[in-house]
Amino acid sequence: MRLAITGLQVSFGTRRVVDVDELHVGAAEIVGLAGESGSGKSMTTLAVLGLAHTVGATVGGSITLDGTELTGLSQRQLREVRGRRIAAIFQSPATAFSPVFRLGAVVHRALRLHGMSKSEATEAASRAMRQVLLSPGLLDRYPSQLSGGQLQRVAIAIALALRAEVLLADEPTSALDVTVQAEVLELLRELRDANGMSVLFISHDLAVVAELCDRVAIMRQGRIVEQGPAARVLSAPADAYTADLLAAVPVIRAEAGP
């Protein structure tokens, strides 16, 4: 198991917001973590990134990456893991980029921080941009000059350039148009298949999870109520709450024929 979460507990004071017995993501696997607002999905992401303390939460339990325990690491050690081995993309790609810097400056800084030389960083950035189907020339632009979908692809490009093994994607397409969303989902599938990337995909949209994920875990009030192969969980849910969520997904009622 590439990323394994066992007995994870995240609390604010005495209030426990995440209580996950077990969740794992294998190599070249996309696992969906689905649930409503406030179910603890994003706190789980923050805990994996070692950032839960920044919002005042305490973390207990075990998070391992290829067998290495992450929970006890110092911030210095964690910096080696974050970005390099575990990358994250968020709902609003605009917040990942400072509006006053050209994209290239932000991308380069991330790569240089992780030990690349100037020329290596330039090379890696261009390669990664092409991999996400963007022209490397866009790196000379400012964030405001790109669309939301393009920015999200640049955020993914940083993860690629650093050769991250695990991508935490927290609602990465919720702010995007449906056509752009389709492109980003396609890109994630390609990264799984071609690069063997593991993805923990956090979403409240079960239709997107059904499209993309190999397995899915349904979260409610901090706990995982059900997990299993996406096709099984979403077609024959074992838990009543999963069925409830599924019933809430709006469906297209279309009339076939001329």
């Binding site: 022209s135 449906v178 969303q181 079960l206 499209e211 297209i252 279309a254």
Partner: protein, 379 residues
């Protein structure tokens, strides 16, 4: 005056006799019936809106009958759907075209007529936090609109606010709470209650559920469905989510770069698209039954609205584009009874969509325009 009275109305609402669960029937006196009732409640004709060189809306005509009914406006960011909604409310200056509400050109409304129209046409935004003042109690926020339109005194407005909360499925006791004490879905109900408070005939719903998670969204969709019948509402629903127009709108217009690509009855339009753009949008929608087999991938992004391509504006991304599409702007024309499409090859698209929905007809050899894989916009 508005803000003052609004804040005053925030006095303890518990003093008001409860009329919860008993939403007042729209009384004849309160209905904005000073309007001449024509066949269309909203009639948008050849509307154009320019922002400098950007043609945000470029010759759009749409009609909406009196409620209960819904017209969906769908398209990507930058397609002009929100601008059309704003123009229907006279919130943006138009460059050309006429918007008629109940038979009257809204550009010419002044004084009392303008006030009546402002009351009769309301909007609900994606983000309810833009509507709710964080320092005002919920009841006061709702009552403010009633008082501003002189539809009720303060005490009566506070009472009506509680009834409206009940009508949108919230506990009337929420009137005493502040916005931050409510969830996103609850706040959106409050903004709907506020819009409904002045008894509008037309609502513009601008991405009303896009900020909500799936259960809150389902609750809002059910609420709109109930209210439209109870209140005879007509609405423009602006969204990028085709499943939502499918649930709420009889008619749908698909917009691309400020123009109508296709319009018609929602079920027929989504089941058997006549425009390649509709088909691409339709195929991009994720569905619960897993990956769609035949996805129509659109290369690149929508073109620059300040500098639209010649011919059909969709041709640089269209898998079916031929020479004619690059030269000649396709007219929006009837392709089936009640259905319009702006595509030279609409008949072929219809025929192939009905043969196997979602499956593209064989692409022509010249189908893929040069440089279409690079997503970079024109420099």
């Amino acid at each position: 005056m508005t803000a003052e009275t609004g804040r005053d109305a925030g006095q303890p609402v518990s003093a008001v006799p409860a009329r919860a669960g008993d939403p007042p029937e729209p009384s004849a006196a309160l209905r904005p019936d000073s309007f001449v009732t024509g066949p269309w409640l909203l009639d948008i004709s050849e509307l154009a809106v320019r922002f400098g060189p950007v043609r945000a809306v470029d010759g759009v005509s749409l009609q909406l009958p009196p409620g209960p009914c819904g017209l969906g406006l769908v398209g990507e960011s930058g397609s002009g759907k929100t601008t059309i909604g704003r123009a229907a409310l006279r919130l943006v200056p138009t460059s050309a075209g006429i918007v008629r509400f109940a038979g009257k050109d809204i550009a010419g409304l002044r004084g009392k007529a303008l006030q009546d129209y402002r009351r009769a046409a309301q909007i609900v935004f994606q983000d309810p936090d833009g509507v709710l003042d964080p320092r005002m109690r919920i009841g006061a926020t709702i009552a403010e609109a009633l008082v501003a339109h002189r539809m009720a005194g303060r005490r009566a407005a506070a009472e009506q606010a509680r009834a409206l909360l009940a009508e949108v499925g919230l506990d009337p006791a929420f009137a005493a709470r502040y916005p931050h004490q409510l969830s996103g879905g609850q706040r959106q109900r409050v903004s709907i209650a506020r819009a409904l408070s002045v008894r509008p005939r037309l609502l513009v719903l601008d991405e009303p559920t896009s900020a909500l998670d799936v259960r809150a969204q389902a609750a809002i969709l059910a609420l709109v469905t109930r209210l439209r019948a109870q209140r005879n509402l007509a609405y423009l629903l602006i969204t990028h989510n085709l499943a939502i127009v499918s649930e709420l709108c009889e008619q749908t217009a698909v917009l691309y770069l400020g123009r109508v690509a296709e319009s018609g009855p929602t079920d027929a339009l989504l089941g058997n698209p006549a425009h390649p753009y509709t088909r691409a949008l339709r195929s991009a929608v994720p569905e619960l039954d897993g990956p769609t087999a035949a996805r129509v991938v659109l290369p690149g992004d929508a073109p620059d609205a300040a500098n639209p391509p010649p011919g059909c504006v969709f041709h640089p991304r269209c898998p079916l584009a031929v020479d004619r599409c690059r030269a000649e702007v396709p007219a929006l024309r009837a392709v089936r009874p009640g259905r319009l499409a702006a595509c030279h090859r609409a008949e072929e698209v219809l025929a192939s969509s009905s043969a196997s929905p979602g499956r593209a007809p064989a692409s022509t050899a010249e189908g893929s325009p040069p440089g279409s894989t690079a997503a970079a916009p024109p420099a």
